[in-house]
């Protein structure tokens, strides 16, 4: 096992990793940018080191700065968290070149699953159904138009790299396609440094369901059930829950079984998530794999009682899973509300400032993962996630009741948050009946959605 881990991330996930290290009895060094000097992870860490200025490109995205920090503090492993360099196979390579361990899949595994399009072909070959799409990347507008005709409009333009909706566009006509390709390329280029795009059949009214898996170095894999991430805003998840209401228990079991079978067969290693779109008929299409710990991993932890971050570290250290599928028992229902510094009343404009008052809700079934504290200044340089409020209950109705009470109890003053959108969701018929699709908010628009909730 590792003796000392460098945490190369910030916010709630830096705190989450620190806690996992403490539980495992491993020393942790928090690497931080100047903007995070006062962050909670830095305060609670036994050791912390400033790696650069607030600009992420010179700190959390700087490969030399992070590896140098790991070297001079005597770490033997680096945990990248999510985002930033968490799925960068080049970074993983350089980490290994310095005799350090990247906590995540080994470089060659990251490389094998780097291209979404290649991954769909790979796992499709191991029995996962995929969405009809372009054969390979679109070489040019010509090729794109031909492929779109073959697939049939509407089609979705997607960047090969990255994720989170950046560089994605749905187009209904050849003209829209031509005009959008340029935009998507530049967006993808600036966001991921890679402008290769591919096309995909657009599915209307789909659900987003993902399966959490873990595979050790010895090819032993276990799945921890699925999460439903259908509540999104412009392809950004804002609420996740498990189990999904989109599939029958039997269908859920089958999906998870196929997922773990495929990734083990394809030689995946460490924790990961397979994302699927589920159409109105309950047919699931594999769309991509996330080779990192995810924001919403806490949903699965509440359901199964496992510590996925500790498991991620153990697997990276070469330990066997130490559990079989039979040991995975999911209990009850869990819902995660992402608390973001965004103003729902103003098109989710991100905010910053000082947290004047902070009170985290508590009680049975409530877990709040957050780096907030009274007096904390939210820096304007990074993503807007302030914390994750997870509500567990023996059934979905109870989880919803507890979630509602917890959202009412939460106090975050000084910063505008998106809490109102969550309260609106909990009064939405569609959500309460578990019928939400990924366009729930975008179809009517968040403002209209909020207004409708206010009326009820």
């Amino acid at each position: 096992m590792f003796s000392k881990i460098l945490i190369a991330n910030r916010g709630e996930i830096a705190l989450r990793i620190l806690r996992a290290c403490r539980t495992l009895g491993i020393e942790a060094v928090v690497a931080y940018s100047e903007a995070d000097r006062d962050s909670l992870a830095v305060q609670l860490a036994d050791e912390a080191i400033c790696i650069g200025p607030s600009d992420a490109r010179r700190s959390y995205l700087s490969v030399p700065a992070i590896i140098s920090a790991a070297v001079v503090t005597g770490c033997d492993a680096i945990h990248p968290g999510y985002g930033f360099l968490s799925e960068d196979e080049t970074f993983a390579e350089v980490v290994r070149a310095h005799d350090l361990t990247f906590i995540g899949p080994p470089p060659e595994v990251l490389d094998r699953f780097a291209s979404k399009e290649g991954t769909r072909r790979l796992l499709g070959g191991y029995g996962l159904p995929t969405i009809p799409g372009s054969v390979g990347m679109v070489r040019d507008d010509e090729h794109a138009l031909v492929e779109a005709e073959r697939i049939g409009y509407p089609v979705l333009i997607k960047p090969s790299a990255g994720g989170g909706g950046k560089g994605m566009r749905m187009v209904r006509t050849p003209r829209e396609l031509e005009s959008s390709l340029r935009v998507c390329r530049s967006e993808a280029k600036s966001a991921f440094g890679d402008d290769s795009l591919y096309l995909e059949k657009w599915l209307d009214d789909t659900r987003h369901v993902e399966v959490q898996v873990a595979v050790d170095r010895y090819g032993h894999g276990v799945q921890f059930g699925e999460r439903d991430c259908s509540v999104q805003r412009r392809h950004q998840k804002i609420l996740e829950e498990g189990p999904t209401t989109a599939l029958s228990p039997a269908a859920r079991a089958e999906l998870c079984e196929r997922a773990i079978h495929a990734v083990v067969a394809a030689g995946y290693e460490n924790v990961g998530t397979l994302e699927f779109l589920v159409d109105a008929e309950g047919k699931a299409y594999f769309i991509e794999i996330n080779c990192r710990i995810q924001v919403e991993h806490a949903v699965t932890e509440m359901l199964t009682g496992v510590d996925l971050v500790a498991m991620q570290i153990r697997i990276a250290a070469g330990e066997p899973l130490g559990m079989t599928q039979a040991d995975v028992q999911s209990r009850g229902h869990a819902i995660e509300f992402r608390i973001n510094a965004e103003d729902p009343a103003h098109d989710f404009r991100p905010g910053a400032g000082i947290v004047e008052r902070y009170h985290a809700p508590g009680g049975p079934g409530i877990r709040m993962d957050s780096h907030l504290f009274p007096g904390y200044e939210v820096p304007p340089f990074y993503d807007s996630l302030l914390g994750k409020l997870v509500a567990w209950g023996p059934d979905r109705a109870t989880a919803i009741e507890r979630g509602r009470a917890a959202l009412d109890e939460l106090v975050v003053d000084g910063i505008i948050t998106n809490v109102e959108i969550h309260k609106a969701l909990l009064s939405s018929e569609t959500f309460l009946e578990g019928r939400m699709t990924t366009n729930l908010l975008d179809r009517v628009g968040s403002a209209a959605f909020l207004a409708a909730a206010a009326r009820t």
Partner: protein
Amino acid sequence: MPQDRDTGPDAARAAAHAGIERLMDTLLPSLIAKLATLNVGELEVREGDWHVRLRHPMTAGQDLGRRAADRSGQRAHAGHDAVGAPAPTRAPAIVVTVGAATAASNGTVPSLAPVGPGRASDGPPARDAGPGMAPAQGQVATSPAVGIFQPGSAAVSGARVKAGQRLGAVDMLGIPQDVVAPADGIVTSILVEGGMAVEYGQELVGIEATAGSEAH
């Protein structure tokens, strides 16, 4: 940059300092004498928009981290350990922090914002205005990267240096990053031994600036 947010223009600072001197001279001694005899923990006065509090420092601050450290003895800080500097203990004799109301609608409260581990006395100058951080009217060359400090020939006490002059380098995975003098002046102190690990922004070389010759 924090600097823009934490400190006002020079004129403003001068004025503030004047006010503070006044505060120190005319009021504190007598008030302290009085209150000390009362064994009072805190005294507070509000008037209109303003509010003055007199209290023992031990009740101030919010550094969860340092407390945690006090509790778990084995806390360490890269920059500090490397140079074997003593862990920060108490606030310097005088610390002045001025929060500019421009940072947040209701003014920043730097003195209430927690301080990172072992940062109290070695934060980059950007974080604090006025004396206390560095030698009075002094300038400090800070580390441009996280790595190993390699002092140059000019990094010796008494050496006269020019703004922008190379004082050494920080070796980041074999790539040297230049450490440069922030102003014309005389080297007063080498704050980190050569070959030691330093973090980004760590103070490395103290310089007594030659009057009116700050780098622009």
